[in-house]
Amino acid sequence: MSDRYEIRFSGSGGQGMILAGIIMAEAAAIYGDKNAVQSQSYGPESRGGASKAEVIISDGPIDYPKATAIDCMLAMTQEACTKYHGDIKSGGILLVDSEEVKTIPQGAFKVLSFPIIGTAREALGKTIVANIISLGMIAELTGVVTNEAVEKAVLSRVPPAFLDLNKKALQIGFESARKLK
Amino acid sequence: MTESAAKKLPRIVVNEKLCKGCSICVDFCPTDVLEMKGSIAAVKNLEACTRCQLCDLRCPDFAIQVFD
């Protein structure tokens, strides 16, 4: 299991967690030289409620596509944090939105807290790019893919009109994480 | 129909292998040309035939034809 790197993005439906997961996987597998598998789970309604996306990154083949021992998890809401933090491995990282997640779970992992949505609103005027900021942070924190690969992946997924906005969001993510480290 | 045709009698052919004896042709012939013989349609009064083709048109079984 050792060469698997496991990331979980969690939040509520509509926060773009699945897109963040997809971009992370593309950064690794299409723009990087790794293998990656991305999966998610919905509630029975396929909308609303807590949602999560998982990315497994590895140098070799990836069999089991779901998280087993999470290296790094993002939680954008309290509900998601409470529901999904259980699989973080000892020594792993939990990144939470500091405004949303007030009750920090206890565990043998490192907790980083940052006002991700707030930053999106204040620095960019759009909470919609909070997921891209968080993506930048995760990339920077984990180092499992290069920042260049992530940027390429983001830009290939974003409509031309929003290139700039997303580029900025990503940079903010990289920088914010650097400060947190 | 030409005038001279009045003399030439039509030829009415009942295919006995196909006729199922429903008597529709008999019942609807406007000039009472046909009759049922047992369970097969037959001609009883050829002179009266106007060649209107109604017997053929309404026969469900492709069993009767009227030639000029």
């Binding site: - | 429903c22 406007p30 209107c52 048109l57 469900p60 079984d61 000029d68």
Partner: protein, 287 residues
Amino acid sequence: MSTPVAEKKEKLSVPFDYNKYLRPNKLPHIWCPGCGHGIVLKAMLRAIDKAGLDKNNIALVSGIGCSSRTPGYVDFNTLHTLHGRALPFATGIKLAKPEMKVIVVTGDGDALAIGGNHFIHACRRNIDITVLVFTNATYGMTGGQYSPTTPLESIATTSRYGNIEPPFDTCEMAKASGATFVARGTAYHTIELEKTIHEAITHKGTSVVDIIDACPTYFGRANKFKSATQMMEEIEKDGTVNVKQAASLPPEKLAGKMLRGVLHKVERPEYCEKYETLIMEKANAKK
């Protein structure tokens, strides 16, 4: 055209040669003595002949039922599908090969009971398919249960005390769901029927012809008709009136009668054409 005189106007000097369209050695067909389905089949063949269609280019599709046995007898591309499913099969053929003429022959049960949903959706799409509904007010093939067109209070093997379900007006249904050509004919008015079917198959879009015909074996016997002839006279001749004549008739003469003839005809873009022009163009422009 409720009088024989009117029918006679269409006098033919030579009998029509059905063998041009019949498969060899398939007759006698399976239908009972006096069954109207054979009369309808013949009208359809004459209409196809009049339209000058190429046999290779016709797909005749049916479901399951006595009426749905029609395709077996004729020399086209013929498809006898599942009960109620003729229309979606036909839709697939038409969309895959829009150059083909697709005709569906179906019973009132096949089209309107189990197949009712496909019927209304084919009409809605206005896909270029002609639907000939053989309306004998019963499920002939299974032995005479009531159907969605069985008149109120009629006797059937599942309505021994009289049918309490009001019948559909197939033409109203077709029109409300979007068919662009809707007509009614009867087996009795066989020349009129031939013309109506001809008009239906030359129309572009979904065309529906509701064809009243007789099941002497089940509907007839259960409801005390003495013969196919009596059914044709009472149900088909006296029970209907041509829509053009109806215009000049007093209401009391129309009471309880079904209208015959072309009841609805409009031009609207056809489904396969729209597929070609709208979808194909946009899809390939976007590339």
